[in-house]
């Protein structure tokens, strides 16, 4: 197990390194740099050169990259070009804001979707199953920003029940009740999309397991249906579901740019789009790094949870009996 973890961590470091090299290179290769976005067109070439030097953009890309890595290893994410603010000052608050939004949506969708999916697998093509299908179609087919706008129109504009946008009412920062009111609409949007996926996965996975011989055996032994479902079927059925959920983990910080924009949620998805337009390399690199890290952690966690839900999976054994 330890050996396995060490190997995975070493792999992760290598992957992260490659990701940073590639994204740094691509970003600098893209036409139009931060200077192009910032400079006033009439500026003299000498003044432009001074600006470039101030920003360190006059150096070759590999030197810029090495400097960036050097600073990163000392915990310095860099500064923005535009107003020289430390990247962390902008980034960490948005990461937290996104985490609040996404974790509520994520938690809620699992709480609803997994039990619902299990229930539907036992009552295939029943009313509840049909409803789930409709929800899934809607969730997949509706553009999230559009659904968000519709909810805003009805609940915020016409009924005037809920706030239109933002995370807090100004002056009420830190009040839980205020936060909850602001969470309702965006969480509804995000949850619907997640539920659509999770219900279908859970149901499909359960149905597959329920057809297995050992389930038939269990039933033949006269075991109670409850016990069959929860004891024998569920543990196996959850493995693919865990994979999906693990892969979704990075969205907890990456956020959902469109939903955040529509609800003016001060999160990271929005920040990423904004910074990409402004070509703020250090912010973009930090976000890329953070998301990559979450992808790696998400995968690792999914693997570890396999071992928990399915004892047959033994981590770290090559060519073992693992399914």
């Amino acid at each position: 197990m330890t050996e396995y973890l060490v190997r995975r961590v070493l792999q992760a470091v290598l992957v992260l390194f490659l990701i940073t090299v590639v994204s740094f290179g691509l970003m600098h290769a893209a036409p139009g740099g931060p200077l192009k976005v910032m400079l006033s067109p009439g500026m003299s070439p000498e003044a432009q050169l001074i600006q470039m030097k101030n920003m360190g953009l006059d150096q070759p890309v590999y030197i810029q990259y090495m400097k960036w890595v050097g600073n990163l290893l000392q915990g310095d994410l860099g500064h923005t070009f535009k107003n020289n603010v430390p990247v962390g000052d902008i980034l960490w608050p948005t990461v937290w804001n996104t985490f609040v939004l996404m974790s509520v949506a994520w938690g809620l969708s699992m709480l609803i979707a997994i039990p619902w999916g299990i229930y539907n697998s036992t009552k295939q093509y029943g009313l509840s199953d049909q409803i789930a299908s409709i929800v899934a179609y809607l969730g997949f087919a509706m553009p999230t920003f559009w659904f968000g706008i519709m909810l805003q129109q009805y609940f915020a504009m016409q009924l005037n029940l809920l706030p239109l946008s933002d995370m807090w009412t100004m002056g009420k920062e830190g009040q839980l009740s205020d936060l909850i009111l602001h969470l309702i609409l965006p969480v509804t949007v995000l949850t619907l999309v997640n539920i659509a996926a999770y219900v279908k996965y859970t149901r499909a996975s359960m149905l597959e397991v329920l057809e297995q011989d050992y389930i038939r055996t269990a039933r033949a032994k006269g075991m109670k249906e409850r016990r069959v479902i929860f004891r024998h079927a569920l543990r196996n059925a959850l493995i693919p579901v865990v994979t999906i959920i693990g892969l979704d983990l990075p969205t907890l910080v990456a956020g959902a740019a469109l939903t955040e924009s529509v609800f003016n949620w001060p999160g990271m998805g929005r920040l990423f789009v904004e910074m990409a337009v402004a070509r703020e390399y250090s912010v973009l690199m930090s976000i890329t790094l953070l998301i990559s890290l979450m992808v790696i952690i998400g995968n690792l966690l999914a693997d570890l949870i396999y071992a928990l839900v399915d004892p047959r999976v033994q981590l770290g054994r090559k060519g073992g009996r693992a399914a």
């Binding site: 910032m38 067109p41 107003n83 129109q153 504009m157 005037n160 924009s261």
Partner: protein, 581 residues
């Protein structure tokens, strides 16, 4: 030379989402009085700002005004901040030496730092500026000639990296005559210098010991706690990417104190949400309402809308460098050919149908209504396919087998580029393509990412035709940095336009100090440039602006669309009336 014209930044990325929500109804008012539309068109009435209060209503003190935006500031240090958001926040927090008046000229108001208009010596080389002697920074330090001298010095020094550097590059020396009087000597006669004095100051007592090259990294202008301000409002709080809180400075030095006690500058990621917030009453001012949502906002009834165009214009720029065309055959060599294209494009039609009336035809690169506007001296090209065809014929173009005109074996076919994401420009491009097709010209529109367009096409001057806008944020009308030979790429003259007669006129105008003599020269400029046509000047344009009806002002203090930051002109005289809510 920076002449205050910035490449217009593309509209907020997500503005597209706005288009989905509200279908446009076709209830536009037809008004026969405006311009000269083709007979089949409906002309959309332009709505100018109106007073929202009668003369007998008395202002009340208090209340919060919420100004909304789609981008955050860079800094409120006047040496560096020259983007719209920074400018907005500075309008409330930093005082100008001289303000602009509604006709875009230098003016002294109770809220200006100057005591009187600058005195200019007979030879036009020496400016004497007298400042008020009671002005104070919000930390209590007096505002003096020292601050002015420091600000000009910092901006003109290249190490500082100020984007405004060209405003003061002709300053030779400065001398303090007393604590409140500064004498500035120029290296050469240069009339636009006076307009450069519409300047907000940086505090010498905070920054004078900071080396110039470290000024940009300094916390002044970025940290509210370390940023004393000179204007009526203090900068109390900045929540990055979310909002700014500006509180009325209780010790403000100006004679006229603001009625409104608090301004919130609130940032939205999405234009649609911003407009919804206006309708809900979460915000009081939206600078640009997408035209697709205009009807819905109007229907709400509680929002005052203005559709007067702002200080920007759209242009269709020809490239005169033959290397950009097949066989090195410059398609736009003939003056008549260019004039034909000007006749062929239905500019009023675009204004009415795409800009929904928020535009006004322009024939020369001067803001209509300002002192330099050449008015009728500029040639007007009315929409007429017949005239266009006639001119093309005279210039030797003959229709080929495929219906496209040709001359000396060269087809009249070109590509015109513009930035993607600006839905109005995208729609206008389609109309232009159609209009030109009608007269036998094949014009192929191509949308490109803004930054790439500037970097790879406009700056190196490599394109055939460029459809873009200029912002005339500098009050001086000088245009040599856009049309002169010395502004060849990578300068602003991206189309390699070379007209020695015009260059001479521009030069003459900036070395003439008397404004009426300058205006006469600009009449000649207007005539020459509209005859010769480096561009087809399309129209002055803007975006509709909306303000909640709880904001009250009298006629003399109403918003002015045409000058930059004019939407809050007279803000100190505004008040909030919540009684009728």
């Amino acid at each position: 030379m920076k002449k205050g014209k910035g490449w217009l930044k593309p509209l907020a990325l997500l503005s597209l989402t706005g288009a989905l929500l509200v279908g446009c109804s076709s209830g536009n008012n037809a008004s026969p009085g405006t311009a000269t539309p083709a007979p089949t068109q409906k002309t959309v009435e332009q709505v100018a700002p109106q007073a929202t209060s009668t003369d007998d209503e008395k202002p009340v003190d208090g209340g919060t005004f919420t100004h909304s935006t789609t981008s955050d500031i860079v800094t409120i240090n006047p040496i560096f901040g020259n983007d719209t958001a920074s400018g907005d926040v500075m309008e409330y927090t930093q005082a100008y030496l001289y303000n602009r008046n509604p006709s875009f000229d230098l003016a002294v108001y109770p809220w200006s730092l100057a005591a009187e208009l600058p005195k200019v010596s007979e030879d036009g080389l020496t400016y004497t500026i007298k400042m008020k002697n009671n002005a104070k920074w919000s930390d209590g330090t007096p505002i003096t000639a020292e601050d002015l001298m420091f600000t000009i010095n910092a901006i003109k020094t290249p190490e500082t990296g100020s984007p405004e550097i060209t405003k003061y590059d002709k300053v030779k020396e400065m001398k303090k005559l007393d604590d409140y009087t500064l004498e500035i000597k120029l290296t050469q006669l240069y009339a636009p210098f006076a307009f450069g004095l519409m300047q907000k100051l940086a505090p010498a007592h905070v920054l004078k010991d900071v080396p110039f090259k470290e000024l940009q990294a300094h916390s002044y202008g970025k940290d509210p706690a370390k940023t004393p301000t000179s204007g009526p409002f203090k900068w109390s709080e900045w929540k990055q990417k979310e909002y700014h809180v500006l509180d009325a400075n209780p010790d403000y030095w100006g004679e006229k104190k603001p009625h409104i006690q608090k301004v919130v500058y609130k940032i939205y990621a999405d234009q649609n949400t911003q407009v919804q917030a206006l309708m809900k009453g979460d915000v009081d001012l939206v600078d640009s309402i997408p035209v697709t949502q205009l009807e819905a906002v109007k229907a709400k009834g509680t929002i005052n809308i203005s559709t007067e165009p702002g200080p920007s214009y759209e242009y269709f720029a020809f490239n005169f460098d033959k290397k950009n065309f097949p066989n090195n055959y410059g398609l736009f060599e003939g003056q008549k050919t260019r004039q034909a294209i000007a006749h062929a494009i239905n500019r009023q039609g675009i204004i009415d149908n795409i800009l929904k009336g928020t535009g006004k035809i322009m024939d020369a690169p001067f803001l209509p209504g300002t002192w330099a506007d050449p008015g009728d001296a500029a040639v007007h090209y009315e929409y007429s396919a017949e005239k266009a065809k006639q001119l093309l014929k005279e210039d030797g173009w003959v229709a080929g087998a495929d219906g496209i005109l040709a001359k000396d074996g060269n087809r009249f076919s070109f590509e015109f580029i513009f930035n993607s994401g600006n839905s109005r420009r995208e729609q206008a491009a389609v109309v232009i393509q159609q209009n030109l097709k009608e007269i036998g010209i094949e014009a192929k529109p191509k949308a490109l990412d803004f930054s790439a367009l500037v970097d790879q096409y406009a700056n190196p001057g490599k394109f055939q035709v460029l459809l873009l806008g200029w912002q005339l944020s500098d009050p001086d009308p000088d245009g040599i940095s856009t049309f002169g030979k010395k502004a060849f790429p990578p300068g602003n003259n991206a189309g390699w336009y070379d007209n020695p007669k015009l260059d001479a006129l521009w030069e003459k105008a900036v070395s003439t100090v008397k404004q009426d003599e300058r205006a006469a020269i600009y009449k000649e400029v207007g005539k020459e440039i509209s005859t010769n046509l480096p561009y087809v000047f399309m129209y002055q344009y803007g975006t509709p602006r909306g303000m909640t009806s709880r904001v009250k002002y009298k006629d003399e203090f109403k918003p002015v669309s045409m000058i930059p930051y004019g939407e809050t002109f007279g803000f100190l005289n505004w008040w909030i009336d919540d009684t009728k809510k």
